[in-house]
Symmetry: C2
Subunit: 358 residues, 2 copies
């Protein structure tokens, strides 16, 4: 608990006075003011978050955390739960969506077993921080103990801190865990106050009957466990997952270090909601990569006041949205650091033909 408390304590609101200096620099670049739209907003945000007037995104890291969910016993997913482990082998082998997309944007992926139901063959590409062999079935009682909830968040903090030592300029979140959209929907419903029907979606591809069953299971889990919406740890313990806790830890640790953190889709945003509940200021360090096709995602982002960067109907998870988002964020930072100024390039500013030097 000490590590979690210390980390939360370290999170402060960023220094927004830097926004003015950032704006001045953006307005002096050879383009009409504001004409690069959200790229300029993001560039400004990067300066504010990092406290660095010349930010760079050399070291990009995506944490993809994997765990299993006891609630899969209820038949809430279109895929068998063994797929969690198979996909983690795929991550290690480099053949998954997250491998391809993170390579495309020049990010390294850190794959973590934080609570898979099985032990994989040891591999240098897999970090093992297992809290337990999957959660318990939340439809029958709490998914994990309060101690496990804390341990999962602290494991995320430790994983982040370990990588931080190697250099991190920006972080992305990613998840793998059959059943975790059920857990995330439960978290989101409690923390946003929206109904389960408004939040729960088809996950990896449920049909109508499957979705109805999933909604019923979530409602049952909420009724049995009664998670307290003001207590992020209670929500995580009762209806969460180990990968969700781990990502909460990554987000809190990034915020404590003033490292911008790119939030992936539905599951990562459930983790972000828990981080936000534990420490609202953590939100200032988040960038929502995209709006997932998963039903309630938009509501979850709106609850925190986050505006997604992309809307590409993605719903894979793994950190794939974070990767694509990072490519855009890096572009925005390069605008700030590589573009010429009006003076430097001898370009006239608006309504001012006097400076023309042809």
């Amino acid at each position: 608990m000490q590590l979690l408390q210390d980390t939360i304590q370290k999170i402060k609101k960023p220094d927004y006075s830097l926004a003015q200096e950032a704006q001045k620099r953006l307005d002096n670049l050879t383009k009409p003011q504001g004409s690069l739209g959200r790229l300029e907003e993001i560039a400004k945000h990067m300066i504010v978050v990092t406290g660095n007037l010349w930010p760079q995104l050399k070291n990009k890291v995506i944490f993809t955390m994997a765990a299993d969910h006891g609630v899969t016993d209820e038949g809430v997913s279109a895929y068998p739960k063994e797929v969690t482990a198979q996909m983690v082998y795929n991550f290690i082998g480099g053949g998954a969506g997250i491998n391809v997309l993170s390579k495309h944007v020049g990010a390294r992926v850190v794959v973590v077993d934080i609570g898979m139901a099985v032990d994989l063959k040891p591999d240098p590409k897999l970090l093992v921080k297992k809290i337990n062999y999957g959660t318990k079935n939340m439809a029958k009682g709490p998914a994990m103990s309060k101690e496990e909830a804390i341990a999962s968040i602290e494991a995320g903090i430790e994983v982040f801190e370990n990588e931080y030592g190697k250099g991190i300029d920006i972080v992305g979140t990613g998840d793998m865990g059959i059943g975790n959209s059920t857990s995330s929907a439960a978290i989101a419903s409690i923390l946003t106050g929206k109904s389960v029907e408004e939040i729960a979606g088809r996950g990896t591809g449920l049909d109508d009957a499957g979705l109805s069953k999933k909604i019923a299971v979530i409602k049952k889990a909420l009724k049995i466990n009664v998670p307290q919406p003001t207590d992020g740890l209670d929500v995580l313990a009762k209806v969460g997952g180990f990968e969700i806790g781990g990502l909460t830890g990554v987000i809190l640790a990034a915020a404590a270090r003033k490292v911008p953190v790119v939030i992936d889709g539905f599951i990562s945003t459930a983790a972000a909601l828990i981080a936000y509940t534990l420490k609202p200021d953590a939100k200032e360090y988040m960038i929502a990569a995209h709006c997932s096709q998963e039903k309630g995602h938009r509501l979850m982002l709106a609850h925190m006041g986050l505006k997604p960067l992309l809307d590409l109907d993605m719903r894979l998870g793994e950190g794939t949205g974070s990767a694509i988002g990072m490519g855009i964020i890096e572009a925005s930072v390069k605008i700030l650091t590589e573009m010429a100024t009006f003076q430097g390039a001898g370009v006239s500013e608006r309504n001012d033909a006097k400076k023309i030097l042809l």
Copy 2:
């Protein structure tokens, strides 16, 4: 006229039968079907357009065409017209938004003077294909002659063909020309049938009074010239610009060569509308990079049935939206060519636990 006619003749509908094979490959990759959303759509589109089941985007080229507009005499822009030349020097110097963003995605930029009001100092980085020293003021008569309209399109075709010889896998469009959002709005109003008020926007940053004046000038130009909506050449000649004609040529030439063409913002889309009017099948080769903040852009895209990839409130032009879009398109192609299949990775498909090999 011969080159234009030949090019139009070569444009055929792509072979959509390949879509089925593309879909099969996408569905066999280690992810829930369709879970990469628009990335999968784009990947499929790339296969169909190129006719290549293993497309690659090694050679990415953005054509940024610059020209001046006589209509600036009416005071329709927030910037003095000399900025066209100053910005082209900036392109050559590598300090503009398009330089930074095209470098970010690994695209080369081809800068073309296709009708600037002045002659720049010769530079190997500037291609000169000047049709005339800027257009005439369309508020007083046709912007150019029919011969000039044809010549500008054919110049675009030639520029494309020259680069095609060096290798092109995907093309992006870009523009520079103070006053060209006025010309583009006139084109768009005629070709979409929407009112000038619905289409015309603030360009580089007009205030309310400036926008009202711009709308009045466009209406006057349309009233005086009476461009024929079914005749793309007539529209281009009467209210167009040389860079717009040049980009029309690039788009037609790309379609004729089965090269996907990424359409930038408002001005590029005016060029796309002319290409679409001259040969509707050209549309099949287009990808709309983004929805510009410029008012009528969404209507123009909708008129052709194009769905923008990004919505980042950008309105700079130069090809900056094309560049960002290309990064996403390249990601989609890599999904197709680099991801593992279910069989290859030993991952279970949905509802099928039998293939599990842990």
